[in-house]
């Protein structure tokens, strides 16, 4: 399902803890054009709750978020 989405930027968030994953995410998305997709890879289990919450607050679109082994991968689309 996620394979069909074209990823414009892969963001390595491994080893980072709150609040750094969303801080890095917000900084990365700033430089991208509307419509661009970021794939984030994190190891902090907190992102499972925080990335969807961040998407709601910041008004960006969460395409998917999933756990694969000990990593958490998510796709965020810049919509504004």
């Amino acid at each position: 399902m996620t394979e069909q989405v074209k990823v414009d930027l892969v963001l390595d968030l491994k080893g980072l803890l709150c609040p750094m994953p969303i801080v890095k995410l917000s900084q990365a998305i700033k430089d991208l054009p509307v419509g661009a997709v970021i794939e984030g890879i994190a190891t902090d289990p907190g992102v499972m709750a925080d990335v969807p919450a961040w998407a709601k607050t910041s008004g960006q679109e969460l395409i998917s978020i999933e756990q694969r082994d000990k990593e958490y991968r998510f796709l965020i689309k810049k919509v504004k």
Binding site: G15, L16, L17, C18, P19, M20, I22, V23, L25, S26, Q27, W54, T57, S58, G59
Partner: protein, 156 residues
């Protein structure tokens, strides 16, 4: 009119409480909110340079006790600085952002740092003893003006 804003009073000068304050501030700024932090009383240590302060006898005495952001200890279990050392060591091991890094991040994200003029007077802290990124010192009316237009207000 209510805006997408967060206003915070930072009263505490404890390492743990300051961590909470800066984590919420950076998180809010990263979520697109406009953030203002008002630093008053002990909280001023978070935006103070590592310099001796004070003019009068009591002011100098207080200046001797006041720390900067790297010198503040946790609210519990500090044990004369051992607690601070231990927490820093544990945070480093777990790769958690340190207080000074969080403050830098907040500045980078555009968080407004406002010192309280009255506490500066009482504590004999002049603006040149504060980090250069702080805004013009202000008072309660400025905070209330910000707070009544904010979606979130916190006192830490």
């Amino acid at each position: 009119m209510e805006q997408n804003k967060l206003s915070m009073v930072v009263f505490s000068g404890d390492m743990d409480r300051l961590m909470a304050a800066f984590i919420i501030a950076t998180g809010a700024a990263a979520s697109g909110m406009e953030v203002t932090m008002f630093f008053t009383f002990w909280g001023l240590q978070a935006i103070k340079k590592s310099e001796k302060t004070g003019k009068s006898f009591f002011g100098k005495l207080l200046g001797f006790m006041l720390k900067d952001i790297n010198g503040v200890g946790p609210s519990k279990m500090n044990f004369g600085g051992i607690g601070r050392w231990m927490f820093k060591k544990m945070m480093k091991a777990k790769n958690v952002a340190m207080l000074d890094q969080l403050r830098n991040m907040a500045i980078e994200l555009g968080v407004k740092l406002v010192p309280c003029q009255m506490s500066m007077e009482v504590m004999e802290l002049t603006q040149d003893k504060l980090i250069p990124q702080v805004s013009q010192p202000a008072g309660v009316a400025t905070f209330l003006e910000e707070a009544r237009n904010s979606k979130i207000t916190l006192f830490i």
